[in-house]
Amino acid sequence: MPGTALPQLGLGLRHVHVEHILQHQPEVDWFEIISENFMFSHGRPRHVLRQVAERYPLAMHGVSLSIGSSDPLDMAYLRALKVLADEIKPRWISDHLCWTGVHGHNTHDLLPLPLTDETLAHVAARVRTVQDVLQRPLLLENPSTYLRYAASTWSEPAFLAELVAQTGCQLLFDVNNCYVSCFNAGQDPQDYLATLPWHAIAQLHLAGHQHCGTHIIDTHDRPVAAPVWELFRQVWARSPQPGVLLEWDADIPDFDACLAELHKARRYLHEDIPADAARPAARHEAISTPVDFLIAPVLQDAATHTTEPRHAQPVL
């Protein structure tokens, strides 16, 4: 029966926490990695990932599949994704219902798709190809959106439900993204939930956002907002025990603070915790979908080893 068990709680694996994780082996049910951080790595990131994979279950979460782009699917990218998956054997492989660029470019943003019959057929065909390559169902995540296209004829949950029906893909339902997108579009999240294909939800995301008054930005830089926890409670009760993951990608606090925020998920489900007071609207808009956490901290790394060969004699 949905919603009765304790959730399996996971955290997004971040550079700044890796040393702590390997040293202290904290109790976390699983970690989610950003696939692109490791697919092309020949250095320490991949090496460290192998060590993490020995101790923890992993999920692979991508940001560059661009499943809805009108560019052809990048087969080299897909093959690299499969190689990494074969190596670390993740529980899930996910990406977003979005496009990231055309004409060979990558905006590194998760851009919304016009939700039309044509887009549905296009995305469904590509999901099938991806699943054929990966030889497993793909999980697609509902992105945070800040605009709606005039051409859209489907609601997002109905679009996702049809995609699930046509391809057998699964869903990574981001509760925060649902809240953000609904607010920005002036839609009631309850209406969104009404059409969601619950049986296909394999994973949930939680994250913090920034309320700017007229709109909400998905910033992943702070604790989860009270109304998102409320929504999470409802979603969990209706889902088939998906994995629950906290994303924290900017202004990342120390590992224990992230873990404490993640553990709130259990308390929200099983204790009666009053929602925090609403936070005031922000004055300065933060960056949506922050990505600079993906940049390896090379400066500190190289600086620790600056010396010429110790025994070399000056000769000239």
Binding site: D74, V102, G104, T107, D132, Y146, N184, G186, A302, P309
Partner: protein
């Protein structure tokens, strides 16, 4: 392996994405008001253009943040405002075309070289910036480049082995400015002045997943260059011979000391000289 989707994307989707990418990357809506109104629905609290503007503001801000992370010393040298101006121009000229952000700054040093603001009367500080960009990017790529961690490094017992070679994660660089010292000072959270010209040779080396910056004497640099240029099957000693001639009678002991230090620092590997790559 299944074949990739070969069907063309729907025309309406292609047109919309082309439009969206253009407005994102240019952040300029002038003359596009009608297109915006046609494609984007107004929201409950904001007009259509304001919804689009949320994406436009974030696009460049997000990527500039990444480049500031990839060029921390150059960002320090230029100051964040000027750095962002240069980086924004670079991103407009060469938008990312990689699935990973790790390649974002790959063309930046070259871009600065081609678009130097002092083209008519070259100034030293611009040369310094270009060299610092090259240095920093070299170090950045080395961090995740193919290395010898899997196959192993040469040991002191291998010093007479003719198959001794430089390991793959090693870059040799020569600069007119001491960019390595400047970089180190920024890493140490100091606030160094722009340095005067003072030529440096460096080896950037990653061994055992740790990157190191090694200052080299000119002769050391030359010797390492010769080792790098050895063809498969040529003995290592061929590269050393020329340096021995230059050093004179004390040369042998000196070169042995260098090699010992380089082996200990993970500069060298034993190649499989007669295997050829089939891929």
């Amino acid at each position: 392996m299944p074949s990739p989707c070969s069907e063309a994307a729907p025309a309406a989707l292609t047109e919309l994405q082309h439009f969206m990418q253009q407005v994102l990357m240019s952040s300029d809506n002038r003359g596009r008001e009608a297109q915006i109104a046609r494609h984007i629905a107004p929201g409950p609290r904001l007009p259509a253009a304001e919804h689009l503007a949320i994406y436009q503001r974030a696009y460049l801000a997000r990527l500039l943040q990444c480049m500031q992370g990839q060029f921390k010393a150059l960002n320090h040298a230029l100051g964040p405002a000027l750095f962002r101006d240069f980086a924004a121009d670079y991103l407009r000229e060469q938008p990312s075309s990689s699935p990973t952000l790790a390649h974002l700054g790959a063309g930046f040093a070259d871009y600065l070289r081609r678009n130097r603001p002092d083209a008519d009367a070259p100034e030293d500080w611009i040369d310094f910036m270009i060299e610092l960009a090259d240095f920093e990017w070299s170090l950045y790529t080395l961090f995740d480049a193919p290395g010898a961690e899997g196959s192993g490094y040469a040991s002191v017992d291998d010093l007479a082995n003719p198959a001794l070679r430089l390991q793959p994660a090693l870059l040799l660089r020569q600069y007119r400015f001491p960019v390595n010292h400047y970089y180190q000072q920024v890493a140490d959270e100091q606030d160094p002045d722009h340095p005067d010209p003072a030529p440096v040779c460096v080896a950037l080396v990653r061994s055992h997943y740790r990157s190191g910056i090694f200052s080299l004497r000119p002769l050391q640099y030359e010797l390492l260059q010769r080792i790098a240029l050895l063809q498969p099957g040529q003995p290592f000693q061929l590269a050393v011979r020329h340096t021995l001639d230059q050093l004179g009678p004390a040369g042998h002991a000196t070169v042995q000391q260098w090699l010992l230090a380089w082996v200990q620092a993970g500069f060298l590997v034993i190649n499989q000289p007669y295997t050829t790559s089939c891929r």
